[in-house]
Symmetry: C2
Subunit: 465 residues, 2 copies
């Protein structure tokens, strides 16, 4: 494991009554042991199939790489059509490992196709996409685990239609790669009938835990990410988190400290990477943490309405937006800083003897300034008795990114076990889905449509001019 974890500033000796006591950790050892056993014993089975993904065989990786190689060479753009777990894994990794302005690089400076992760159905965004890609050289990876996601199916229909009109049906078929559960679902059936290339997702791999399946690996391979190093990183983290001693197990101890802090009233979890490349790692975490742990009932069926609300901040940017609140507002959050020891380049701050008033920046680099600000912010939060901890990557590469993603997933799994909830379902989104079907006029949803139409709305609470 190359990542380092520092949880000093969530402990009572650092932040007083807001913190967790050593005695609490000691008393809760059996709880942690139970959560550890639960996750480890189920590991790889049922909805924990994602735990097997880092061990994907080399033969399988070779096969994916071979399938993607020709596309990598032919494509000028790769567009992912997907939402939620089908988008955030690809987005977080590609933003971390490719050039930060990859799509704007001139073709000769870019070793890989441009990429677009289309995770919304905003018509203006769809038009914007058509304005900048060339259908003659674009490939589309349609990703939905269930094969039934309305948004993704809608995007697919639009794109396939445009491709057929531009290139003819025969060529259009070659431009669509489908990633879905093999053997079931609307998208699978369409792909079979039309003859699209299909990549499978295991039955027990949920969307938000699917980044190391074909969901991530296919776009990564096309964009030239070192998928072997990524999975090696995931394996290194998995190994570190097999340690049954909580204080040596980063995912287990931080899951516990978060849950404990939540029970003490810290219902907000801020994920704050000090790196633009790691910006979407925070979004990946936010989905995982929010959707997995936000549950009305526990495993016994008891109403618990639990969950810690994740939110993203970016350092140093949000020091000028959110740190005032984090330092002085309610004691309602835990801040996780993600730092990077060595960036992939060094940017000196030029000093000019003619320029007055900037002497304090003389001889410094942006690298050090960013690092100092992170350390200073961490210090200021601790002085204000605000719970925080820090994860440090030696540098950003496929291996460390693999470690970080696997850590997030394991931490979430442990937190789910500690809360005794099902971290793998999402019953709360059903009502909205059904209501959407009703509004679309789908047969069988007439009663829901009536309920929607009768839904209360008083003009007293409207303001219009």
């Amino acid at each position: 494991m190359q990542l380092k974890f520092d949880y000093n500033n969530i402990m009572q000796y650092a932040i007083g009554v807001q913190g967790v006591k050593d005695a609490e950790i000691a008393a809760d050892m059996p709880l942690m042991q139970k959560a550890f056993d639960e996750v480890m014993s189920a590991g790889g089975n049922g909805w924990q199939e994602w735990m097997r993904l880092p061990d994907t065989s080399d033969a399988e990786l070779t096969s994916i790489l071979q399938d993607c190689e020709s596309i990598r060479k032919k494509a000028e753009s790769l567009v992912v059509l997907g939402i939620g777990g089908s988008a955030l894994g690809p987005l977080s990794v590609l933003n971390a490992l490719l050039h930060l302005r990859h799509n704007e690089l001139p073709a000769k400076k870019r070793a890989a196709p441009k990429f677009y992760i289309e995770d919304n159905i905003d018509p203006e965004r769809m038009r914007a996409l058509f304005d900048v890609i060339d259908l003659n050289t674009a490939y589309f990876n349609v990703i939905t685990k269930s094969g039934e996601t309305s948004e993704t199916l809608a995007q697919f229909l639009i794109i396939y239609d445009a491709l057929k009109k531009a290139l003819g049906k025969k060529e259009a078929k070659k431009r669509i790669l489908v990633t879905t559960t093999i053997g079931k679902g609307t998208l699978y059936n369409i792909a079979q009938k039309e003859g699209f290339k299909i990549f499978g997702i295991g039955n027990g791999v949920g969307g938000r835990f699917s980044v190391f399946s074909a969901v991530g690996l296919v776009p990564f391979a096309i964009l030239g990410v070192d998928i072997r190093a990524l999975l090696a990183g995931a394996r290194a983290m998995a190994a570190a988190c097999k340690n049954p001693a909580p204080q040596k197990n980063p995912a287990l101890i931080t899951a516990y400290l978060q849950v404990k802090s939540m029970q003490k009233g810290r219902n907000i979890s801020v994920m704050m990477p000090y790196s633009d490349a790691l910006k979407y790692m925070a979004d990946f975490y936010c989905q995982l943490w929010g959707e997995s742990l936000g549950k009305a009932a526990d495993k016994t069926g008891k109403q618990v309405f639990t969950g810690q609300t994740p939110t993203k901040a970016v350092g140093v940017t949000d020091q000028h937006s959110q740190i005032q609140l984090y330092t002085e507002g309610p004691f309602d959050k835990v801040v996780t800083f993600i730092g990077v020891d060595n960036f992939r380049n060094v940017q000196p701050i030029a000093s000019d003897p003619d320029i007055d008033g900037c002497g304090f920046l003389k001889g410094q680099t942006l690298n050090d300034l960013l690092k100092f600000e992170k350390r200073a912010t961490r210090f200021a939060l601790q002085k204000a008795l605000r719970a925080n901890f820090t994860i440090t990557l030696p540098e950003i590469n496929a291996h460390t990114v693999g470690e970080l993603l696997q850590y997030f997933m394991l931490q979430t799994a442990f937190a789910g076990a500690l809360l005794n909830i099902d971290a793998y379902n999402q019953p709360g989104v059903e009502e909205g889905k059904i209501a959407t079907f009703a509004l679309l006029g789908r047969t069988g949803y007439e009663q829901k449509l009536e309920e929607l139409q009768q839904n209360l709305k008083s003009a007293d609470y409207l303001i219009e001019q």
Copy 2:
């Protein structure tokens, strides 16, 4: 006022005990009246000078437009160097009003220069910028209200040095436009000495309330945004919010309902636009709401540790990430939906008789699908007794964007008055700034450096391998 406000779903008749009662509104009328009077009587003076900005004279606007016209024609890229309030206003408006993939459009399809809002000091991001802009055709707008922001000064030193090396000092000077407080601060002094073009910010205009000052207007004018329509929108909203009847004053009633909900335990405010173009409006709101209201003490000096934590979600995208938590988790948030009646284009969903299983999308448009999902989500949240309200824009244009921004600022001002706190300072960021100066080795900060070095850290709470 073209915006519509619907606060049905925050009232008790819609969401039960979680909601606000009519009787509470009635009882709190004097409080609202007091807050209204406080904001209105100070309007335009002291730190409320921002309230005068929508009335900027036509002569002044003409002068800004004239100054920017030649840059607009010559520049291939405009780079804003700024952070916090100096970045979020420009970013939110430009993302709303320009093409969603503006920088990727071929030059002949783009009526304005490419734009970059550089609001971080990540060295990898600075390198990425140099990789995609051409210094021969780039202009830089350096924005800092105080003229002392370390991050912006560091960026400026790097850029000015690069410009001088590439173009010579004489030409380099023409490429820097400075926006700062006239007459004071390091950046002002440098600009005077070097002969940069300077745009002023009024003394009483704080960073997060500065979008309608030169901070926003200069980049908007260069990028071709209709600044007259933007300010007309701001004036329309200002007029609507001069209504002393709270229930007809959108900023006042929603400020009250948020504050009241916060006092009932809803310490999280989710801003959720259903539009990619409005994505950064949520960031604009998050700074404003978080930094203005997150305060340790009220105006009497009493410790209050108040503030509601703002967080951003994007519809429909985050339905697949956060809605599970919002629907089933704790009753700890108020969700504000922002909807758009008419998008700037219509995207039909193609239907193909050969494609099975997608019949329910037949004859639909992305526009309707998005709108149905918004309505369905709002309905599902209300059914789960979750507080929410909805703001609707008839369409996204300079006028409605001006209305929305002015609404956010007025709502924040009213909320500050209701909480009896100073919404215009940010004392909580001082400790971090001082600690950064100490780490930079700045003279006068030796004691702080010692404090930092002695700062507690136990190896017991580190995990490294």
